[in-house]
Amino acid sequence: MLIKSEKDFFSGLMFTIVGGAFAFGATTYNIGTGARMGPGYFPLLLGIVLAILGMIITAQALISGRPGGDKIGAFAWRPLCFIIGANLLFGVLLGGLPSIGVPAMGLIVAIYGLTLVASLAGERFNFKEVLIVATVLALMSYGAFIMLLKLQFPVWPTFITG
């Protein structure tokens, strides 16, 4: 069988799997009856609906496709990895990972880390430029979030502030 629309086929598949998973998970809670709904009732209902919708979408993708084939196309792995990576690094640097003993480095270090990694997602990377951007962002964030808005952030590494 030929897939007419890749996008529809795989999104349908995704809906079916996620819906099925939710429905399955819901059965571990008390379902109850219509008059006395348990915590599992509504999720079970929705999960089944989602799974059915997903199946219909998948089936349609096999029967009729929109012109052009609707290919998903290549994933942009580079921006995906670096943007998400920058975000994760920011979290690690800001708050540390107490479970494996990584100390919190605070906001300023985290901003430099995030900017550096995020910049790698772009096409051009100029280290000096990135440093300037990071410094500007660090100064701006310190002024706006810490001084003006007084948000509660660990600003400096914990081993310095103690």
Binding site: K7, L53, N87, G91, G95, A118, L151
Partner: protein, 503 residues
Amino acid sequence: MDLINNLTLGFGVAFTFQNLIYAFIGCLLGTLIGVLPGLGPVATIAMLLPATYALPPLAALIMLAGIYYGAQYGGSTTAILVNLPGESSSVVTVLDGYQMARKGRAGPALAAAGLGSFFAGCVGTLILAAFAAPLTEVAFKFGPAEYFSLMILGLIGAVVLASGSLLKAVAMIVLGLLLGLVGTDVNSGVARFSFDIPELTDGIGFIVIAMGVFGYGEIIQNLSHSEEKREVFTGKVTHIYPSMEDFKRMTPAVLRGTALGSALGILPGGGALLAAFAAYTIEKKTKLKPGEVPFGQGNIRGVAAPESANNAGSQTSFIPLLTLGIPPNAVMALMVGAMTIHNIQPGPQVMTSNPELFWGLIASMWIGNLMLVVLNLPLIGIWIKLLTVPYRWLFPAIVLFCAIGVYSTNNNTWDIWMVALFGVIGYLFIKLGTEPAPLLLGFILGPMMEENLRRALLLSRGDWSVFVTRPLSAGLLAAAFILLVVVLSPSVKSKREEAFVEE
């Protein structure tokens, strides 16, 4: 006159020096972030929400209103100058706005959008004030069955307006509803789908979803295109104000757009997008005056009408939110979340229990609109400058603001891990061609829907027919059904597809 009294009360509260400053800051920040390419109002509002945390409720709402209008106006600016609609409702603005910019008339286009929006906003505010009180009366007659049916109608309405596949949009809503159920069940205290993670028992934060899906997802998508492909108009915008001729042409368009937008905006499902499309279509149907530029080649009416309709629609779409507590679109869903953070549960009770807040909010919307014209139009030059900043400097800043914003909601790194997850999911959605806006709407409505369904069925002792035997509820469901039938009917279906292909 109640209306006058109420509005006076509202303006009395809102018109303090301090609140005006907040409105101004909100407007400025909203435009600043909203103008960045690839960031729509949802991501902008989510990103700026933390800036309001420290404020008292009314000041926060006023600032939010400023952010909201600023973000929308910023979106239109990007649409006109970069040929990149920041949100679905400015899709039609791109058509003529960008052409005007190419012909060196970016200034008048931006002014037309701003002035049209302001006029529409004024009318919308008046309608909102006039309709709020009577509709609230109706809202008190609503039982759980009616609320459930109304939400169905709202969700169907939202789906109808989504571009692309209807089924996929419905599936996204259901997915959103399911995600909204994650966390502790209010009735039984059971932590659902929490995988024994303590942070998940509070549910998934809506900011996390909004920023992950709308912020990170979009950035990744933008970066996957080559930088050279984007064309930005950075030439000098000299004549900002439209000529007399322009005014003559845009005035009727603004009036038509406003009327249409106000009417469509009240409909559940959120009319801003529909209003913009319909307004543009109507303008296209009217005869061209001699010497007028054809549509699609930079006609000022093609900017003024959809922009006014869009703004009037977004103004009146506050009506279902404030009177019934039901957000009609993704942006409103975000506003619900924002209000909840400030301990305001939108709904009919706000007006009776807290009239100062309610009317203050309505007044602040008008102030937000005013700020836009008074302060943003003269600043157009600065916004244009902002667009000349290379994207490679901007996106690390956007990523940073998202990360900081997410962290500051709970001061917990957990949210940072979650936003990473939703960033990946958001990119996946884009790749699979599924629209994320219905997901956010479903997410906010999920717990509300379950609660009302549960109550309705509890009262009827498990009898599902309660939804069709109660006249109000039956009427709402019938409306939803008719809406679906109309959209699925072959003639409308092909028209609808045509309309979205034009993008």
